[in-house]
Amino acid sequence: MSEITTLLIANRGEIAVRIARTARRLGIGTVGVYSEPDVNALHVDAVDVAVALGGSTPAESYLRGEAIIAAALANGADAIHPGYGFLSENAAFARDVEAAGLVWVGPTPEQIELLGDKVAAKRTAIEAGVPTAPMLEIEGASFSGALPDTMPLPVLVKAAAGGGGRGMRIVRSNDEVAAAVAAASREAESAFGDGTVFIEPYLERGRHVEVQVIGDAHGNVVHLGERECSIQRRNQKIVEESPSAGISDETRNALCSGALALAQRVGYRGAGTIEFLVGTAHDGTDGTINFLEVNTRLQVEHPVTEAVTELDLVELQLLVAAGAPLPITQSDVQFSGHAIEVRVVAEDPAAGWLPSTGTVERFMIGDAESGPGRGDGVRVDTGFRDGAVVSPDYDSLLAKVISHASTRRAAALTLARSMRSSQITGLHTNLDSLAEILVEPDYLAAATPTAYLDEHPHVVAAHGPSGADEVALLVAAVLADEAWARPSGAAFGFAPTGWRNLRTTGQRQVWESARGIARHIEFEVRNGAEQAGRERRAIVDVDVAIGPWPLPGDDGALPDDQRERAAVRILDRDIDGDTMRLAIEVDGRRVRVEAGRVAAPTDEVDVAIGGQLGGQTVHVRSAVGAMSWTLAPRFESHDAGADGGGPICPLPGTVIAVHVAAGDRVADGDVLMVVEAMKMEHKITASSDSLVTEVRFAVGDRVDSGDLLVALDQPGQDGNEGGTA
């Protein structure tokens, strides 16, 4: 028994923050580590002291076992918690940690080695009597290509060292088996340095269910129930819950007892997860159970287990790692209610879940009413905050949000509300899809096979609020911008918004949503009476028309105005710096909205867009959803075009397309380049017929406002044109 007084957390992001939280509660000192890009990350602020590992890729930083052990020793740490990923399932590292006289918070190196090999693990599981489909071990090149009778088609060829779907092949006919084995082996060899593969039955339809176990060094093991993690994309989980609502109690008992038996057989120490695939029979009942693998670490989704058992898994991990006996027996483990976790990830679901990178401008998770993560019954585990950078070097998990309620439905709806109110800007996230899944009828009915996302494309394509909700959020953004744009000291700032003694039109603006939808809005404060000056609390009536305003036809006459009208009342606007809380009523429906802006729309943005009036983005979130709106500039810049130099960049952004090359002749209006800025695509066009002399940026290049993008030579600007030789 060796008491832990100081713990080194060999990880980053939300899990490092989460481990530090328990350590702090237990009075255990914390030492963190960080790579160069993480120098000011949230996880570094969560620990007492942190040690620089340098570098930016994992290999240069969080995978440097030697440096981490040295940091632990130099800073008086007596234990190392590896979190998940990185070195957490690296037996050699575990061995080095123990050799250095430190406590390794995890299973023994031997257990990691044994269970990390899928073939060995499955063999052990079968020996322990764990319910599972059979396995066909392939001995090197000796495989004949023939499947035994015990292995009906279809089958799955898997790599022993695999994970994340790599080295995996589905085989549906006998003559494909040999080739699939060879291919999977080659892929495994190159990916993991181990070409060992095995074959097991492929379950066409099923659920991913896993059992949490924890054991101590004295042979005691308990299971903490199961989790269902069937909703996955690219073999990665995004929604997890406990208990599984889709399996029978019989299956549940079989899985839990099997997991316990396997853990007991190896004398498992620490927290671990035994993963299963539970097949679904044609009649919808549970079919074949197949053992998948054992994860010898804390799982990402452990909070749902913590919620339903009211246990702190990290606390238990630290206890058993230090050699103490488990403080609980199986009968102490009680389950209450239902917990659901969603993983908020920087990715674009509609674009095939393409990972998204960039700087997080605004990071607001949870209820707009009571602040992030508070007051709405959800737990938020995150390693991010405003201004943090999501880089391709690390996991794109932004946050885990966990709800816990007495029923599954209540937990799902609570979490859905939290997702709707959440807002993360600066990059793409799966927030809208998560919000949609949690209220989707099949999900609420627990009809969640692993193919759920493939079978429900509309949740993948979810894009946030629409209809009256979208209108309310647009109006809120416009009115928030108005209040910010006219501070009390502004010239004539006391007058009602847009006041006129002779009115011709209202105030006209065009706002674009982050998904590229432009909305024209015209609004007019109705004030036969002065609206009590700039009193934000006074009720102000606003007439709103949405849709393009009438423009003169060929004959110069304006067509009839057939726009949608809305009667809006501003009930309250409470400004707190760059955050504003609004209560507005749109056609008799009251909505509370929190608005935020990243930068004051005065100087910074103004300079960025060269006085074109616009470009500022207002982020709005409420119980009906969250959106970001950007005001389209009132003016275009013609400066560079007029000078004959070519178009200049309107906003800082990234070049996403180049349509011309030097030497091309272009006509007035031709698109030369597309710049993505502020989440919108800006077409850069030629302002006159001209010759491209130089394309100054390539796709992917960062461009700043004011940069000359494409050098153009305009006929007539050249003094020699038409001259004689």
Binding site: W499, L502, A529, E530, G556, G611, Q612, L613, R634
Partner: protein, 537 residues
């Protein structure tokens, strides 16, 4: 510490009288509003459509596209020329607004009315506007396109018309910047509008300027030339140098204006607001019911103040002396003001009290707001023997030589020498705004007709003519006709049509309008007088 204490309103807003009065006031306002609605398309739909067909914005659309988002815009003299042969609004737009956070004066011609050609009221309205620009030191933006003078009416225009160019260059001398955008033709004398401006912007393929157009050039020197070569935007930008900025289109021209205003780094010279600008305790919307639609019915001026002043706070000066002149201190949108308003006619006490109050405000550099509801000075032997002329002279001396900005709010009648004593038009206030119930004349129509009747009867008597039935009927008819004529000639619309004020406003907008006017006046130095004429003690 704030100025004064909150006024307590005694207005019964639930009484039948109140509602009847509000209804009558709203009827008066409705007439004004319907006249205002005619102004933007006064040139006729055909010409508005033709203008738009050419891809051009109407002058007020240009203003909307120019001014800062959400900012207010106060159009001045929008009903100039009402009741005359000239179009309502006089074919030009004048106003005060905000561009790049700067309080500016903006004017523009309405090309849809006779090609933007100037008529006699255009000249008068422009003259008044330049006065406002100069006195209040407001950067000036001219959105110009004009065919020049309305030639058939040259006799009423030509001689005085040149003054606008003199005004422009004198503004420049005073350091008040002027920016002209040429959206269309700037012909003949009109070419001097860009010519005399500090900055000029010409819109490509639209803006032109020449002293003589192609027809005149052909007539005069037999040169055949196209418009662009003669005075086009590109020619003036690249060759003549008349254009400082070449704009790609109308919007681009407005963008250039904003860029120019930005580089001015303009600073107002006045001290600006210094008091809390909390709204009045009583709703300014009730102002419409504070004054009487029938100016013969008296009303309490403090009810107006209670809805005009910040927090309804008012520190009354000499409340027990000369109580028909309600003087005191307060603030409007944070700007300290001295208020003078009438609760009846002027006696010697009222005149001397007001004169003293005006001197105090000048010593303290506090602008003055005159709320007119005045039928005149007291007459009669008692008043004369009490020195009403001598004491009235003190008031005229004070208002004539006071140098703090004066603002007139016409909330009721403004008759006779009372108008002078309250710093009326002839006393050069910075701004005058009227409520729709306003009446202005040398005296009330009934009194005037009555006076004329007595004069006629005395003349008859002097000539020994006896008034028989026939003559009696004739005299009565004459008096009624005269009363009707004066009635018509003393309305707010008649007054605003003749530029006796800077516009009729909805009473509920008074705080906004006065706030903008006072704020604009603070663009210039706010300094009180140190010298007056000889006081007749």
């Amino acid at each position: 510490m704030t100025i004064g204490t909150a006024l307590r309103s005694r207005l019964d807003t639930r009484s039948d009288d109140y509602h009847a009065n509000v209804a009558a006031m709203e009827e008066l306002w409705a007439e004004v509003e319907s006249e205002l609605a005619k102004v933007p398309s006064i040139g006729g739909q055909r010409y508005v459509d033709r203008h738009r067909r050419r891809g051009k914005m109407l002058v007020r659309e240009r203003v909307e596209a120019l001014v800062d988002p959400h900012s207010p815009f106060l159009e001045l003299s929008p009903l100039a020329a009402w009741g005359t042969q000239d179009p309502i609004g006089a074919g030009m737009m004048c106003g005060i607004g905000v561009v790049e956070g700067v309080e500016v004066a903006i004017t523009g011609s309405d090309m849809t009315y006779r090609g933007g050609a100037a008529n006699p009221t255009t000249w008068a309205k422009g003259h008044r506007f330049y006065e406002i620009v100069r006195e209040n030191r407001l950067p000036l933006i001219v959105l110009n396109e004009s065919a020049g003078a309305d030639l058939p009416r040259q006799a009423d225009l030509f001689i005085r018309g040149g003054q606008s160019f003199r005004d422009l260059t004198q503004l420049s001398k005073l350091g008040v910047p002027s920016i002209t955008v040429a959206f269309g033709p700037n012909t003949a004398g009109g070419a001097y509008t860009p010519g005399m401006s500090d900055y000029t912007v010409f819109v490509r393929e639209r803006g032109t300027a020449y002293l003589g157009g192609p027809p005149l050039v052909k007539m005069a020197i037999d040169e055949i030339v196209d418009e662009e070569t003669l005075g086009g935007a590109e020619m003036h930008s690249a060759t003549s140098g008349l254009s400082d900025y070449l704009a790609e289109d109308e919007m681009d021209g407005l963008r250039h204006v904003r860029a120019i205003i930005r580089h001015l780094r303009w600073n107002k010279l006045g001290p600006g607001p210094s008091e809390p600008n909390d709204p009045p305790l009583y709703d300014p919307a009730e102002l419409i019911g504070c004054a009487q639609a029938d100016v013969r019915i008296p009303f309490e001026m403090r009810e107006v103040y209670a809805r005009l002043l910040d927090g309804s706070r008012f520190e009354e000066f000499k409340p027990r002396y000369g109580n028909k002149m309600v003087c005191g201190w307060g603030s409007i949108h944070g700007f300290p003001v001295g208020m003078l308003g009438n609760n009846g006619i002027l006696f010697s006490e009222e005149a001397t009290k007001a004169a003293q109050f005006i001197q105090l405000c000048n010593k303290r550099d506090i602008p003055l707001v005159f709320c007119h509801n005045i039928t005149g000075f007291m007459v009669g032997s008692k008043a004369e023997q009490g020195g009403i002329i001598r004491n009235g002279a003190k008031l005229i001396n004070a208002v004539s030589n006071s140098t703090v900005p004066h603002f007139n709010l016409m909330v009721g009648a403004s008759y006779g020498a009372g108008n002078y004593g309250m710093a009326g038009k002839a006393y050069n206030p910075r701004f005058i705004f009227s409520w729709p119930n306003h009446r202005i004349a040398v005296m009330g129509p009934k009194q005037l007709a009555g006076v004329m009747d007595i004069v006629a009867r005395n003349a008859a008597a002097g000539r020994g003519i006896e008034v028989d039935d026939e003559m009696e009927a004739q005299l009565q008819e004459q008096a009624a006709a005269l009363e009707g004529q004066i009635e018509t000639e003393s309305t707010a619309l008649f007054s605003t049509g003749r530029l006796w004020d800077d516009g009729i406003i909805h009473p509920a907008d008074s705080r906004t309008v006065l706030g903008m006017a006072i704020s604009a006046a603070h663009s210039n130095v706010v300094a009180g007088a140190t010298e007056y004429g000889v006081w007749r003690h």
